[in-house]
Symmetry: C2
């Protein structure tokens, strides 16, 4: 299998995203190697040895995606035995022309710390944890958004992703069976925050499968129970005009991006 | 201020990462707009209107970074009033040549759901939550890594990032004052898992500042207490050969990437 290397003097997240996006267009598998924080010529030479070894072992030239700010180190890696792609280079000159200013690559600014956004995100994570699963209602006023849905419909991972990626404070509130003795009504604690509500739903079969992994053969996990709960929450969303999303076929990135697009919620970090 | 648009028929995460990496090389500020899930020609025309409006309002041609798989939609956006950058295009032909196969862009594979990796990540998030703050020791055998450190040294956000981004199961264990009556020793519950331990530390001043936001003027937040606790944990890390990292100047992405690089821990998701 051909190897693909992602190399940087920073986290290498940009090189990974860039490489993955390109490689995902090809119906082939690759062996991935991420090598971040290459900050000395010695380390760079070590990396080149690994690339050469991979070439010798497989007979296939490795692909090398790199974003390296330090020119000396960049030159070493650009000389590797692999096929080198440095996507920044190709775009810098046209962008300089378009903006009428020169690029000033200082160091990795994209995934490194920014005093302000750091605190925002950690605060948002702490908020999501403190306001998970309806345990704490007194901070709902502070929430940017309140995710609702039945147990295991994806509320917690989504709230954490919104916090870590965008610095958004997401509380979440689970609808439980107790709320559904009769017809599910909007719980009174949520009424004041109706404008912040966003509903998640999921296909009954999938929910049944997820809950069964947790508590096999329970009433909680039964398909019948899943269908009942989901019917009730979806009816509530429609009746109350709460925007909602079926998360079944979406990744947590997609769910989060869709929530932002659907609600117009402003992210705190870019 | 010049606007920068990130547009895609998927999440637009790739377009954002690509655009941000490039723009971070320039000492200018931009107004960012992410527009994901553009899936119809109508939506694409709407986007072009927004781009044109921004141009008219500011007198500055917006930058438009896009990764669009659907050719019809891609063509519309490529015709916008902005300066268009489609980074995939430029690299597809050379990569086809290098690999000797044709690209088969089906749809967005990078940030969409993969049945297998989805479960891995959600499982890992649930694991991190269930094993946060040393509340649950019985699953440490299942952990890929156990983060240790004093209160507020970054264990929880890091464990959640490792879970969401890499599918890694990270437990965490806080060293508290009770452990430090005398000299801090390795708690007996951790001894069997010593090979999984990774220590976080932080500068006393910064810890003092973070704890003060939480509990101002407490002994817990006092600089003296922070210094004492940090000295104890760092001594322990050194004595026990536990790999560790000072997180003070690093973002959660950097801390996570450094942990992977330093431990050689295999990620479960690429």
């Amino acid at each position: 299998m051909r190897a693909s290397f992602y190399i940087s003097d920073g986290t290498a997240i940009t090189a990974e995203v860039f490489g993955h996006a390109l490689l995902s267009l090809f119906p082939v598998e690759f062996k991935h190697h991420t090598i971040p924080f290459i900050e000395s010529t010695e380390q760079a030479n070590d990396v080149n040895r690994k690339i050469l070894e991979s070439f010798q072992d497989t007979g296939l030239r490795p692909l090398v995606f790199h974003t390296i700010v330090n020119p000396e180190i960049r030159e070493i890696i650009s000389d590797s035995a692999g096929i080198n792609y440095n996507f920044l280079n190709q775009f810098v000159a046209p962008l300089e022309k378009a903006l009428g200013i020169e690029a000033k690559p200082e160091k990795h600014r994209t995934h490194s710390i920014h005093e302000k956004t750091y605190d925002i995100r950690i605060d948002a994570v702490n908020f999501a944890l403190a306001n998970d699963d309806g345990v704490n209602l007194k901070e709902f006023g502070e929430a940017d958004i309140i995710l609702t849905g039945v147990s295991r419909s994806g509320k917690t991972p989504t709230s954490l992703y919104l916090a870590l990626q965008y610095g958004i404070k997401a509380a979440n509130y689970p609808f439980t069976e107790d709320d559904m003795q009769d017809v599910l009504k909007l719980p009174s604690v949520l009424k004041a925050y109706k404008h912040k509500l966003f509903g998640l739903t999921i296909d009954p079969q999938r929910l049944h499968q997820i809950r069964s992994q947790r508590k096999a053969n329970s009433r909680y996990a039964s398909l019948q129970q899943c269908m009942l709960e989901l019917r009730e929450v979806e009816n509530l969303y429609r009746r109350q005009n709460i925007p909602f999303l079926n998360s079944t076929t979406f990744s947590v990135e997609e769910i989060s991006a869709k929530i932002l697009a659907q609600t117009g919620l402003e992210r705190r970090k870019y």
